[in-house]
């Protein structure tokens, strides 16, 4: 009798391979939930500080938490301080404990309060290392922290390891150094794919409230019309492709959603949109948190331009288009009809909101 050499095997809890005579479908080891990272006698901790945006953490912040989780050993906990509210579970990032300081969100300018809170938490927890994403908001807070404390620090860290970090010099060389106490991590330095999860246990911060100093005064956010925001900066983009015939409806919808307008190459080539609206390999690369693709089939070049978008919604006639595989929500149907219906619903919702 021939024995199938590729017959399924299982890994026992002891780590031994066991060949079982089971149907292949029953041995789906990779479907198992990831284990929680084991911590024995935690006596050290790594601190991650990051701002949330609209209640979620962006990729950069997740990478920073993942870096701490990868570098943490058996006796080390990863404590994450989220500035701003958090409406999602961050277990998959590898955070063991989470402190949420909802008042210190990125919308308000209160650097001294945030700095005082973080300093107080650092003093009480005494972390071995502090990680922060080096972006516009956290990079500013991190540098304030570095200037205030006398800890060793590195900014724009492009390579990190258990023993060393590296930053990039102006000449393009890597400058390797030993691990400092405060690390501001550049984007895409860490792979967020972890074989484990964290407990993400919420703990209440034990800190006093701090008063803002009289030096700074927040005069409020300035509203910029969505049409004036550069595409690569925009947070909400409605994009049209070949499937959009009525440009007027499309523009009304973009206006109603207060979204910036983008377009695929075909729509731009047809003269429906200006060249600076083109999204994709030859056009612009966007990083919006919401991207609604209407009548765009999703050529590779276009998908490349939207790879950093968080929520992609597709409206398309063709259910087998490449965009449908990329999108988080796809609606199959005629673009014009759905746009009209969406416009109607938005007007209704806005009327209800105004009446309330």
């Amino acid at each position: 009798m021939r024995i199938n050499p590729r017959r399924p095997q299982q890994t026992s809890p002891a780590g031994l391979k066991r060949i079982v005579l089971a149907a292949p479908g029953q041995v789906a080891a990779h479907d198992q939930a990831k284990p929680v990272r084991s911590i024995k006698n935690a006596n050290k901790n790594l601190l991650v500080v990051a701002h949330s945006n609209k209640g979620v953490l962006d990729d950069h912040a997740r990478q920073t938490i993942a870096a701490a989780a990868i570098l943490a050993d058996d006796a080390t906990e990863v404590v994450t301080i989220i500035l701003g509210e958090l409406n999602e579970s961050i277990m998959d990032t590898g955070a063991d404990k989470v402190i949420i300081l909802a008042d210190l969100n990125a919308e308000q300018f209160q650097p001294d309060v945030a700095l005082a809170c973080i300093t107080a938490l650092i003093a009480s927890m005494k972390p071995t290392c502090i990680f922060m994403p080096d972006n516009v908001v956290d990079g500013d807070l991190g540098r304030r922290l570095i200037a205030k404390t006398s800890k060793s620090a590195a900014t724009q860290v492009v390579e990190i390891d258990t023993s060393h970090i590296a930053t990039q010099s102006g000449a393009g060389l890597l400058i390797q150094n030993t691990l400092p106490e405060i690390i501001l991590l550049a984007k895409d330095t860490v792979d967020t794919h972890l074989p484990f999860t964290g407990e993400a246990q919420l703990i209440a911060p034990k800190i006093a409230s701090f008063d803002a100093s009289a030096h700074y005064k927040d005069l409020g956010m300035q509203s910029i019309a969505a049409t004036e925001i550069a595409l690569d900066e925009a947070d909400f983009i409605v994009s049209a492709g070949n499937g959009v015939q009525q440009i007027a409806t499309f523009e009304t919808l973009a206006h109603a959603l207060q979204a910036s307008i983008g377009a695929s190459r075909v729509a731009v080539d047809d003269g429906k949109f200006a060249r600076d609206k083109q999204i994709g390999a030859t056009g612009k690369t966007v990083a919006a948190s919401t991207y609604i693709a209407i009548g765009i089939s999703g050529a590779v070049q276009h998908l490349q331009g939207i790879k950093d978008c968080r929520h992609v919604i597709a409206i398309n006639k063709d259910a087998s288009a490449a965009m449908i595989k990329r999108a988080d929500l796809s609606v199959i149907g005629d673009a014009e009809e759905i746009m009209q219906a969406l416009l109607m619903l938005i007007h209704q919702a806005k009327n209800v909101q105004e009446a309330a």
Binding site: K17, V27, A28, A29, H30, N53, A67, I70, A106, F109, V136, V137, G139, D140, I146, A147, K148, A153, T155, Q156, E159, A166, T167, Q168, G170, L173, L174, I175, Q176, N177, T189, V190, D191, L194, P195, A214, K217, L219, M221, Q222, I224, E233, F236, S289, T290, I313, I324, K325, D328, L329, S330, V331, I332, I338, Q340, A341, L342, L345, A349, K350
Partner: protein, 292 residues
């Protein structure tokens, strides 16, 4: 009333050739400073801008009337000049780029060490210090303005796009990601870090380059004479991404290789267009992407 404005400049590197040149971020900060000075004095553009190139090169090079400096403000006459400060080598040819971009005079503290202490000593009576966001050479950590502000005990505002002086305060339009802008007011004296996207036009004029002066300032005595031991190492390769070590059995690796990742989200095929539109609106509301 604001008295003194200073801009800190550094030596930049050309991204391809690595040649020394002006640092664009610092040039933006300097130009904003020059514009602030212009608005303070309500003067016409600097004397050389109009006449420079065309005919009178000789006159431009002989332009030796004293330039009013903030380090020695003239009493009685309401005249200001931007103090453009650099710490490093006064002989560096790249400094002349800043003259060409409009600085009448550059003061250079000739030192390689204790830069923050030296700058702080020179800037302690300054009302407004402007810097670029990050240098192009050296460590380029973007830390200097923060450490300097800490040393001088000044407040600091980063990511400034425009700066307006209102009495003893400065109003700053701050850059935030995702197309947001914030207006912030800060009490002077302060350090303001200019964002690279600040809407400033740089004007390069050869005549200004010829007319400007570079003045060396004495440096403080180095505080600690022993060299700080650093364990830095230069390597010429691409950075390696940090990955979590995975101990997968061969079977698991095989399964991971053959099973395609289940990508793609929900697909709505049924219903009329209003129901489909409702699904989209529900999704937007669920993820708090719209506020209605």
């Amino acid at each position: 009333m604001i008295q003194r404005i200073a801009a800190l400049v550094s030596i930049g590197l050309h991204p391809n050739s690595g040649a020394a040149r002006h640092c664009r971020n610092d040039s933006l900060a300097m130009t904003i400073g020059l514009n602030l000075i212009k608005s303070l004095t309500q003067l016409a553009p600097p004397p050389l801008q109009g006449e420079g190139w065309g005919g009178d090169g000789v006159k431009a090079s002989q332009h030796d009337e004293p330039i009013p400096l903030l380090t020695s403000p003239l009493k009685g006459e309401e005249q200001y000049a931007l103090q453009v400060l650099h710490a490093g080598d006064a002989q560096n040819l790249a400094l002349a780029d800043y003259l060409a971009l409009g600085a009448p005079q550059i003061e250079v503290i000739e030192t390689e060490r204790d830069i923050v202490e030296n700058l702080a000593e020179n800037l302690k009576n300054t009302d407004l210090i402007l810097t670029g966001s990050r240098a192009e050479g050296g460590q380029a950590s973007g830390l200097l303005p923060y450490v300097l502000a800490q040393k001088l005990n000044f407040p600091l505002v980063a990511n400034a796009l425009t700066i307006k002086l209102v009495g003893d305060k400065a109003e700053i339009l701050q850059f935030l990601p995702k197309g947001k802008r914030r207006l912030v007011s800060v009490q002077l004296p302060a350090v303001i870090v200019v964002h690279p996207l600040a809407d400033v036009d740089l004007h390069y004029a050869f005549a200004q380059k010829i007319a400007g002066k570079i003045v060396a300032l004495p440096a403080l005595k180095p505080a600690n004479t022993e060299k700080i031991a650093t364990q830095t190492r230069l390597i010429n390769r691409k950075p390696i991404k940090l990955k979590a070590p995975e101990h997968k059995s061969g079977h698991e690796r095989l399964l991971a290789a053959i099973s395609s990742e289940n990508k793609g989200g929900a697909v709505v095929n049924e219903g009329n267009s209003v129901e489909k539109a409702q699904v989209i609106l529900d999704y937007l509301r669920e993820h708090r992407l719209v506020d209605f």
